[in-house]
């Protein structure tokens, strides 16, 4: 095998490599897409919606899918959130009572509530 034959083979191989590299460069975006899709495929059965932005989360006390078992009752009534800290004290400053009259009417009954409270506590398991 002469030098010229070796040169032809080397040139052919270089051309072939060039073709492969060129094709690869041409499909680079496709290859990158394939690789990323495979590595970041989401779990098929994950129903959890994406988390809310932080500010929205802080404003929404009821998670997605929250259901009210009692239908028409305000959900706020049964969720133990200490919200009173957000309500400023009501300012009654400057209101000055000028009379000494009895405020409203006072009545007295003898039907105590201790028995009723004990019975109710028993039912509620307190």
């Amino acid at each position: 095998m002469g030098t010229s034959t070796l040169l032809v083979i080397c040139t052919a191989l270089a051309g072939l490599c060039g073709l492969v590299v060129g094709y690869g460069l041409g499909r680079l975006d496709w290859i990158a897409g394939k690789v990323l899709t495979v590595t970041h495929l989401p779990k098929a059965a994950d129903p959890t919606p994406p988390p809310l932005p932080r500010r929205q989360q802080s404003l929404d006390p009821f998670p997605p899918g929250w259901a009210d078992p009692m239908c028409s009752v305000s959900p706020r009534a049964r969720i133990n959130i200490n919200e009173t800290k957000f309500v400023a004290p009501v300012d009654t400053g400057g209101m000055e009572r000028l009379d000494t009259n009895e405020l409203g009417k006072t009545t007295v009954t003898t039907d105590g509530v201790q028995d009723a409270a004990s019975r109710l506590a028993q039912l509620k398991g307190n």
């Binding site: 239908c71 009534a77 409203g104 509530v113 019975r119």
Partner: protein, 361 residues
């Protein structure tokens, strides 16, 4: 110590336990002397009683135009419950406010509307805070337990048009300032606690207040279904006022002091209109009750017929309970009913129920 508080649209009622000394033979102590409610007796011959303090939830503002007018108005208000505000206006409170409004052919204002702090009145929150502070006083001990009532979500109004959350927070904050650890329960739930003791705390209770009708279905002390409707006593006053061309306060006074029986003719045109609208209100309420409960998923399957207890100021009209029972039957109320009865003390039932809850919660 514990207290119960009915924060109603028309009345604020405080319930607390007190002690009465019994007459002792040979001693000079008189019966009926009420001990300081906050301090339980250590020993001795005393009996427990319940003390109710009720105050009309209304106010009327008078703006004096000159310093002389201010002095004259202040003199004219002797004998009435009133305050002077920082801008020099006079705010008459309670029943006196209604009477003064009628004198001036006007209507008194309300710090509450349909069971919650009124968004219609600018001064509502301040006036409500002042009235509550005056009625409940300061806690006897730090973090004294106090249960107050709030309405349920209405079934005849869109959810976003009504919410009790802010009202609940405002009242809790006002009471916290006076040293109370306050918590809210539903108004009709409180009536259940007050009236269903002999029924194993199982039945239906309705609180027919001024602003709303609240309903609670209870099973062995646990509230299972709670809701409200938005027409009640104030709606009657408004409709009659429109029909007769009278101020609401005048209609309210006529309704509360006039003689009438629902379902019977009346020669007084205002009271005749009141009867007419009472019938419409009862029909409307029972239809809404039936519709709301018909397919309710949380409704237990009751085997025994249930007692239905009706409380609240609006239920005090003669013939109310009878017509209510009749309309429940006619409008296909879905639960078996043993009886429809009036609360023992319709005006104080909610406050009493709150007091019972305060003793166990």
């Amino acid at each position: 110590m514990a207290k119960g508080l009915d924060v109603g649209t028309s009345y604020i009622v405080l319930a607390q336990e007190a002690w009465k000394t019994k007459p002792m033979p040979g001693l000079s102590n008189k019966p009926g002397v009420v001990a300081t409610p906050s301090i339980p007796p250590v020993a001795g011959d005393t009996e427990t009683i319940i003390e109710y303090r009720e105050f009309r939830d209304a106010f009327y503002i008078i703006h004096p135009t000159t310093p002389v007018a201010m002095k004259m108005i202040e003199k004219g208000l002797q004998g009435k419950v009133f305050v002077r505000d920082k801008d020099g206006t006079f705010i008459i409170l309670g029943q006196d406010a209604i009477e003064k409004a009628i004198e001036r052919n006007d209507s008194a204002k309300r710090p509450m509307y349909r069971g919650v702090v009124s968004a219609k009145e600018k001064e509502a929150k301040r006036v409500l805070a002042f009235i509550l502070q005056q009625v409940v006083g300061t806690a006897a001990v730090p973090d004294e337990k106090l249960i107050f009532c709030v309405p349920a979500q209405p079934v005849d109004q869109e959810d976003d048009a009504f919410d009790v959350g802010y009202h609940e927070d405002v009242v809790t904050a006002i009471l916290a300032e006076r040293g109370y650890a306050a918590k809210a329960i539903n108004e009709a739930e409180a009536v259940c606690y007050s009236e269903l003791e002999n029924d194993d705390y199982t039945g239906v209770a309705l609180s027919c207040g001024a602003g709303m009708v609240n309903c609670c279905v209870m099973l062995n002390g646990e509230p299972t279904v709670m809701f409200s409707t938005t027409k009640s006593g104030d709606w009657i006053d408004r409709m009659v006022a429109v029909a007769m061309g009278e101020p609401d306060s005048a209609v309210q006074a006529e309704k509360e002091h006039g003689e009438f029986t629902i379902g019977q003719p009346n020669t007084n045109p205002v009271l005749a209109a009141v009867c007419s609208y009472y019938e419409r209100l009862i029909d409307y309420t029972t239809k809404n009750l039936a519709a709301a409960m018909a397919d309710h998923k949380a409704l237990p399957k009751f085997k025994q017929p249930l007692p239905v207890v009706v409380a609240g100021g609006t239920s005090q009209a003669k013939g109310f309970v009878d017509l209510f029972a009749q309309k429940l039957r006619e409008n296909d109320f879905p639960l078996p009913v043993k009886e429809v009865r009036h609360a023992k003390d319709p005006l104080h039932a909610v406050a009493r129920g709150c007091l019972i809850a305060a003793k166990i919660l």
